[in-house]
Amino acid sequence: MKTFIGVDLGSTTTKAVLMDENMDVLGRGITNSRSNYTTACNVAKLEAQISTRLTLCRRNLTQRVPELGGKLDEFLTRLELGFRLEQFLEQLEDLKATCIGNVSGDRFAGMEKQIIEVLEAVFKGVAAEAPKLYEPDAPRKSDFFRDIAGSMYMAHSQARGKEAGIAYDMLLNVYDKSIIEVENRPPNADMAASFLRALDRALKGMPGLNVDVNTVRKAVQDALDVELEETYLVGTGYGRVTLPFSKEHIRSEILCHGLGAHMMYSGTRTVLDIGGQDTKGIQVDPKGIVENFQMNDRCAAGCGRYLGYIADEMNMGLHELGPLAMKAKRVAKINSTCTVFAGAELRDRLALGEAREDILAGLHRSIILRAMSILSRSGGIRDQFTFTGGVAKNEAAVKELRILVKENYGDVQININPDSIYTGALGGATFAHRAVTGNA
C-alpha cells in the first residue's frame, strides 16, 4: 500500500507519522534524537511502521475474529506490550554484550573479571525485572530504552557494586560508553518473529479467550505481510537540515505544527508547541495556514529540556515529574528558568526546606509562564487553542496552562491530543500527501 510519512526531527525526540492514501493515520513512532539523525529517522519510521502493523492487526481482527469483542483492546495491548518486551530484551542483550566488551583498558586493568561478574549479575537482575514493566497496568517511566534500561541499570549496579567493592562511577562509565553504541546501531528490521512471539505471550496471558487461534494467527500474519511502500516523505524539525533530504522534502516546523494542529482539530486558531529546546506560539487561519508565529530567542530557558534536567537532577523519569508535581500543596515561586541552573535552583530550595512537589509545581508553572509570554507575543490565544509538543503530555504543565489561559483569555476551548507530540510529524505527513496528490 502507499504510505505518506512525516518525520519530525526534534532536538530531543524524533517522531514519525504514517498515513495512507485516505489521509488516515495508521501509525506513529517515536525515539530519542541522538547523535545520529539518520538512525533516529529510521528508528522513528520503523516504529511508525510497527504501530501501523498493530493498526492493521486491529483491522483484521475486528473483521475476522468478531468473537474477541470486548476483549479486543486488552488483547491488542498485550500484543503490543509483548512486542515491546521482546524488543527490550533484545536490546538489553545487545547492551550487555557491549558493556562487557567495553570493560577493557587501563582504567579497568586487573579488575576486568570482577567487573564482568558484577555486570552479569546486574543484567540478570534487569532482565528479571523487565517483564514486570510490560504488564498491562504497569506505570512507565519513559518511552525510551536509554532511560528505562539506564535507571534499572543504575539501581542494580549501585547495589551490586557496593557488595563487590566496585566504584559506582566506574560502572556508570561502562554504561555511558555502551549505551551510545547500542542506540546508534540500526534497529533490527526483522520484527515479524518478535511479533509472533509476542502473539504467543498475549494468548498465554489471556487463557480464557474463546477464539480460534489459527484465525488469529492468520490475521496477524496477514497484517505483517502487507507491503508498506514509502510513497513520499517530508522531514521537518530541528534536525531536518542535517538529513540528506532534498528541499522539496523539507518543510519548516512552524508550518508543520500549524498544519498538524489543524488536522487534529480543524477549529484550531492558536497553537502552542513546547519542544525540547524551543517554544513556539503559532496563529493559524481556518485553513491551517500560519498567520503569525513567535518562538523563544537564543536562550533555551523553560523549554522541554528543562524538565529533562530536572528529572535527571531528581533521578526520576520524565513521566513521573507531572504526577509528583500534581501533589503539590502550594506552588513555589521560581524565577529562573535557565535550564542549566534549574538543578542549582532546585537544590537551593530543597536546602531551604521547601517540599519537592511544591518546587516541582513551581518549575512547571514557570515553564508555562514563559510559554504564555511567547503566546502573548505571537498575538495571544484565540479559540480554539491547541497545545502540542512533548510537554503537552505532562499533566502538571497542562494544569498550570489551563489556569493561566482562563485567567488571561477567559473560556477558550483547549485541545490536547494524547498524540500531541506527533503534531509536527502529522503536519509533515499531510504535506507529503499533498505533494503527491497535488493539493497545494
Binding site: L255, K287, I289, V290, F293, R298, G379
Partner: protein
C-alpha cells in the same frame, strides 16, 4: 562603509558600477585624511552619525572621525568580535552596546584604521547626543581615554512627536553660545556663516538625489535593495561627506545608474550579481548585522526577497518626508535635522512611518531585525510589529542579531525564522487564491 562595495568572492562577471568606484575612492580618501590629519596640521573631531554636524564641522577645517563607522568597518572586516572581547576583558559588561565595545577594543588593540595606519587622537569630541543615551556614555568613555575637550550638544527627544519651539531654541542656543565658540577656540578658525550656508546648499542637493534613489524601490521590480544595498547608498551622506561636492557627484552617478535599471526593468545588484525574480517585497526595521552582512543578505536574495524600504537608512536623517538642509535658516535647519533623525522620533511616529512604507512601497510584510546592542532601536519593536500587523493586515517577522558582535548572529536560527517567514507569506498568498484541502 567602504569596502563592502567590493564584495569578496563575488562572481567575476559582476561589473562594478561607477558609483561603486567613486564611493570606494571617497572612503579611502576619508581614512587617509583622518590618519594623516595631524601630519597635515589638521585637527580631528570625533562625532556621531545621527545628527552629525558635518557642514558645521567643515566650517572649522576639522576632519571628522565617526566611531560608529569605524565599528561598522571592524564588523565587516570581522575584527569586531575580538575587539568586543577585548573591551569585556577591560571590565565592560557583556550586556551593553557592542558598538562602544568594538570602538574601545579597537583602541586597546592599537587603534588602527582600515588603511592600516593609526587613528589620530581626537582634538575634540563633539557629543551630538541624538537619539541614543549610549552616545553620552560612549564619549564620556572616550574623554577618559583621551582627556580631550568634549562639547555636548543635547538634542531633546521628540517625546510628543513634534519639534517644539522650545526644543529648537534650545538647540540653536547651544549651537550659538556653546558649540560654535568652542569649535572656534579649538580650531582657531573664525566661524563663517556663509560658508555654512554654502555647505548646506550642497547637502540639500545630494539629499535630493538620495531620496530619489531610495524611493525608486516603489518600482516593481524594485531596482535597489533599500536595506542591504541601501547601506552602501547612505554611506557617503551619513558618513563624512554631507555638504561636499563628492557627495553630490556620487549621488548623481548613483541616480543615473538606478534610473537605467528601472528603465531596463532590472532588480537590485547583490554580491552574486543581479537578483533573481522578485518574490517578496519587505520593509525592514532595525540595523543590520555587520559581522555576517553578506550571509544575512544572501538569506534574502536567495529566496527572492527584496527590501523595499527600511528605517535604518534614516538613522542619519529622515529626508523622504520633505526635510532638506536649508541655507536660509542655517542653525535652525541644523537643529531640525538633529531633532528629526529616525531614532529621535517617538514610537508612534516610527510606527506611522513604517506603516507609510508598507503602503507606499506595496510591501508583503514587515521584518524586524532586532539588535541586542541597541536599546534605542530595539526597546518597543515588538509593539511596533503588532501595530503594523494590525494596521496593514500584513504578516510581521522577527529575527534577532547584533550589529558587530558575531556571537549573536546565529545563522541556523535566523535562517530558520526567515524561511518560515517567507513560507508563511507564500502559504498565505496561495491560501488566498487557491484554497487548501483540509
Amino acid at each position: 562603509m567602504t569596502e563592502i562595495t567590493t564584495p569578496k568572492g563575488a562572481s567575476p562577471e559582476v561589473i562594478k558600477d561607477d558609483s561603486m568606484w567613486k564611493q570606494k575612492e571617497m572612503m579611502a580618501g576619508h581614512y587617509d585624511r583622518i590618519t594623516s590629519a595631524h601630519e597635515n596640521g589638521l585637527k580631528v573631531c570625533n562625532t556621531f552619525v545621527p545628527g552629525n554636524l558635518n557642514e558645521l564641522i567643515r566650517c572649522f577645517g576639522l576632519v571628522n572621525n565617526l566611531p560608529e563607522v569605524n565599528a561598522i568597518q571592524s564588523g565587516l572586516r570581522k575584527k569586531s568580535g575580538n575587539f568586543v572581547l577585548e573591551a569585556e576583558k577591560h571590565g565592560h559588561s557583556e550586556d551593553v552596546c557592542t558598538y562602544v565595545k568594538s570602538d574601545i577594543g579597537m583602541m586597546e588593540k592599537g587603534n588602527i584604521a582600515p588603511n592600516g595606519k593609526k587613528f589620530p587622537d581626537p582634538d575634540v569630541l563633539l557629543l551630538s547626543y541624538t537619539g541614543c543615551f549610549t552616545f553620552m556614555k560612549w564619549f564620556e568613555l572616550l574623554r577618559e581615554q583621551y582627556d580631550c575637550e568634549t562639547i555636548m550638544l543635547h538634542t531633546p527627544y521628540e517625546g510628543d512627536g513634534k519639534i517644539t519651539k522650545n526644543m529648537r531654541d534650545y538647540m540653536v542656543k547651544q549651537l550659538k553660545d556653546d558649540v560654535i565658540p568652542k569649535l572656534e577656540r579649538i580650531s582657531g578658525v573664525k566661524f563663517d556663516i556663509d560658508l555654512l550656508r554654502e555647505n548646506l546648499v550642497k547637502s540639500a542637493k545630494a539629499e535630493e538625489d538620495l531620496v530619489w534613489v531610495l524611493q525608486s524601490a516603489k518600482n516593481k521590480p524594485s531596482p535597489i535593495d533599500a536595506y542591504f544595498g541601501g547601506i552602501y547608498y547612505i554611506g557617503p551622506i551619513f558618513g563624512a561627506f554631507r555638504g561636499t561636492d563628492d557627495a553630490i557627484e556620487y549621488y548623481k552617478l548613483l541616480r543615473a545608474e538606478v534610473e537605467a535599471r528601472v528603465k531596463a526593468g532590472r532588480g537590485p545588484v547583490t554580491p552574486d550579481g543581479d537578483m533573481g525574480k522578485e518574490k517578496y517585497r519587505i520593509v525592514v526595521e532595525g540595523p543590520p548585522n555587520y559581522t555576517s552582512f553578506r550571509d544575512f543578505w544572501k538569506m534574502f536574495y536567495d529566496e527572492g526577497a527584496v527590501v523595499v524600504a527600511s528605517s535604518y537608512t534614516k538613522v542619519g536623517g529622515v529626508y523622504d518626508f520633505g526635510f532638506r538642509h536649508d541655507p536660509t535658516n542655517p542653525l535652525e535647519s541644523l537643529a531640525d535635522y538633529c531633532l528629526g533623525v529616525y531614532t529621535n522620533l517617538n514610537l508612534p511616529q516610527r510606527v506611522d512611518m513604517l506603516e507609510n512604507y508598507m503602503n507606499e512601497y506595496e510591501a508583503d510584510g514587515l521584518l524586524i531585525n532586532s539588535i541586542k546592542s541597541c536599546n534605542s532601536f530595539s526597546a518597543g519593536q515588538l509593539l511596533m510589529l503588532r501595530e503594523i500587523e494590525k494596521r496593514t493586515g500584513k504578516p510581521g517577522g522577527f529575527v534577532e542579531s547584533d550589529l558587530v558582535d558575531p556571537r549573536y548572529f546565529s545563522p541556523a536560527n535566523i535562517k530558520n525564522r526567515l524561511e518560515s517567514y517567507f513560507q508563511m507569506i507564500d502559504q498565505k498568498r496561495s491560501g488566498k487564491t487557491k484554497g487548501v484541502a483540509a
